[in-house]
């Protein structure tokens, strides 16, 4: 599969994402500078973490208007798969490709630690390889990861099963203590109604090799690759 990994001024997880997709998972991944106006021949877009545009105004607010984001919006509107990680999640929310917003952590602290993450549904291109009963161990590193949406939106997210990942404890229970940032419903990541765009605050690309303490993050990339391969085989048939 061909991945495009976007690069904004002050993206800083772009190289990690390319490394995992290319060297760990054996797919093709190339960096795409934010001034590009076309994506080229890609199967999926990854919007990586970092502090795009210095987090000026609001996290993701300026990056959203980068030329490349217009191309990403078009790609997503046509059913293309897009995954946003951390700042990438914030950018996709600002771009209205995902519902809700990420606000300052309830503790006001920047949280940098390993959390447990539960797939709230395995029925998505981003979670299909995650065992339902297996909490993933994946790191977080953010100051503004508290997921907020109004009641109406939350109800819609639940009804459509758009909540993909939730913070949980080691046994899989959704507790307040396991919620690192005050996110509503312990939400760590969501997808759009079409289920082709998703974002999450934790960093699966930092937990895709045993050497780094956890390879659980791989399951998220493997889910996406599986979905893309299925899509390609349907197209070819």
């Amino acid at each position: 599969m061909n991945f495009a990994v976007l690069q904004f001024p002050a993206s800083n997880c772009d190289q990690d994402a390319v490394h995992v997709l290319q060297n760990v998972l054996g797919h093709s991944a190339r960096l795409l500078w934010h001034k590009e106006t076309t994506l080229g021949n890609v199967d999926a877009v990854l919007v990586p973490g970092g502090f795009s545009y210095g987090d000026y105004l609001r996290t993701g607010a300026i990056a959203r208007f980068s030329p490349v984001m217009q191309a990403v919006k078009q790609f997503a509107d046509n059913g293309g798969h897009v995954l946003g990680i951390c700042n990438g999640f914030q950018i996709l929310c600002e771009a209205h490709l995902l519902p809700g917003a990420l606000v300052r952590n309830r503790s006001l602290q920047f949280r940098c630690e390993t959390v447990h993450l539960k797939a709230a549904t395995t029925d998505s291109p981003f979670t299909n390889k995650i065992p339902a009963d297996k909490p993933l161990r994946v790191p977080i590193a953010h100051g503004e990861g508290c997921y907020f949406a109004d009641d109406e939106t939350l109800q819609k997210l639940q009804a459509n099963r758009q909540i993909l990942w939730q913070y949980c404890d080691a046994s899989g229970a959704l507790t307040d203590a396991a919620n690192p940032n005050g996110s509503l419903l312990n939400i760590a990541g969501v997808c759009n109604e079409g289920r082709n765009v998703a974002g999450l605050m934790p960093h699966p690309e930092r937990a895709s090799e045993p050497l780094l303490g956890s390879a659980d993050g791989r399951l998220i990339f493997e889910s996406l690759i599986h979905a893309l391969q299925q899509r390609a085989s349907v197209k070819a048939a």
Partner: protein, 79 residues
């Protein structure tokens, strides 16, 4: 002309900054301190002369980029 824009967190959004400032004011001995909300102030200098057109433009900018309507309210004055 100049636009003076005030952006505040929506009431439904958790405002841990406001809460922390409120607690600190109380600890410092200021009496009768109620809820505190921390927002943003933005000034935009404008060369236009048609106040109504400028107002429309700033309102559009507030909705599209200067604020995020999911989590923030805004208000502004044109001087």
């Amino acid at each position: 002309m100049k636009a003076k824009i005030i952006i505040t967190p929506k009431k439904a959004v958790l405002d841990p900054q406001g809460k922390t400032v409120q607690n600190t004011l109380a600890h410092m001995g200021y009496s009768g301190v109620g809820a505190v909300h921390v927002g943003k102030y933005i000034e935009v200098e404008l060369s236009g002369t048609d106040k109504e057109a400028v107002r429309k433009q700033i309102d559009d900018a507030c909705r599209k980029i200067l604020s995020n309507p999911v989590i923030e309210d805004y208000r502004f004055e044109i001087e």
